[in-house]
């Protein structure tokens, strides 16, 4: 899934704030909403690397204005390390008006909390 060449204009970073480590080997997916049908189309699936990142989420050409969703398989992640979690997954829905900018959508996560922000 990772691209050689231009860097994805959309990036993420998963941090396990409970343990003070990157959230590595977490499955995630990127989706875009069809404006007329409101149905979600899957764009990319991937897994975070050792640093909790997932390069190559989307190409510049595919990164058009619209409503996007990042889905993080957080429940699976905690289960893999032998823990339960309050959230079965986390979905962050966001609006891209100007695809010329860079967008960073991180997830800071513990078993019982999470946060996100718009970075660049």
């Amino acid at each position: 899934m990772s691209m050689a060449g231009p860097v994805s204009p959309l990036s993420t970073h998963v941090l396990n704030t409970a343990m003070g480590v990157p959230g590595s080997n977490m499955s995630l997916s990127l989706h875009r909403q069809d404006p007329s049908t409101e149905a979600w189309s899957l764009i990319t699936t991937g897994t975070t690397n050792e640093d909790g990142r997932c390069p190559g989420l989307i190409s510049k050409q595919m990164f058009v204005p619209g409503v996007y969703k990042m889905r993080f398989e957080t429940g699976q992640y905690w289960e893999t390390i032998g823990e339960s979690s309050f959230y079965p997954y986390v979905e962050i829905v966001f609006i891209i008006k100007d695809p010329g900018q860079r967008y960073h959508v991180p997830l800071l996560l513990s078993r019982f909390s999470y946060s996100t922000y718009r970075g660049s």
């Binding site: 309050f86 079965p88 997954y89 979905e91 966001f94 909390s113």
Partner: protein
């Protein structure tokens, strides 16, 4: 002041019965606007439960936060069974009503209730470009 009315409430019953249901909701929320340092008042929200047979979300309640950013009476003790729930906060509408744009059209928090005897507090701490949540009690 608008208040969440549990879906199983008979609207012909006296107001005090609704208030009792409101006070004893085992699930509560609190929305805070950290951009302005105020409670997020008058934000629409809804509570849903996942039907695991059909994998469809059933809406249990809709409401609007009060002046303190809270929404009493989200669910009654009887209706609060184990399962997967979703709280959907209409954050985009909220910012728009204040004349602002926001990065997120809405925020949905999906969570698992294994022990409905406990109390669960699901706050949303948010600005135009960030939000966070945690499991409180």
């Amino acid at each position: 002041m608008t208040e969440c009315v549990p879906s199983n409430t008979d609207l012909s019953t006296p107001v005090h019965q609704t208030m009792a249901a409101a006070e004893s909701s085992p699930l509560t929320t609190h929305v805070l606007n950290t951009g302005d340092g105020v409670p997020a008042a008058r934000m629409a929200l809804s509570l849903h439960r996942l039907d695991t047979n059909t994998m469809i979300w059933n809406m249990l309640n809709v409401g609007t936060t009060d002046q303190d950013g809270r929404c009493p009476g989200l669910i009654s003790r009887d209706a609060f069974t184990s399962g997967t729930y979703k709280l959907r906060f209409e954050t985009g509408q909220y910012w728009k009503s204040l004349g602002q744009t926001s990065f997120y059209p809405y925020a949905e928090v999906v969570f698992t209730i294994s022990d409905p005897q406990q109390r669960f507090h699901i706050p949303l701490i948010m600005s135009r470009f960030s939000y966070s949540t945690y499991r409180g009690s």
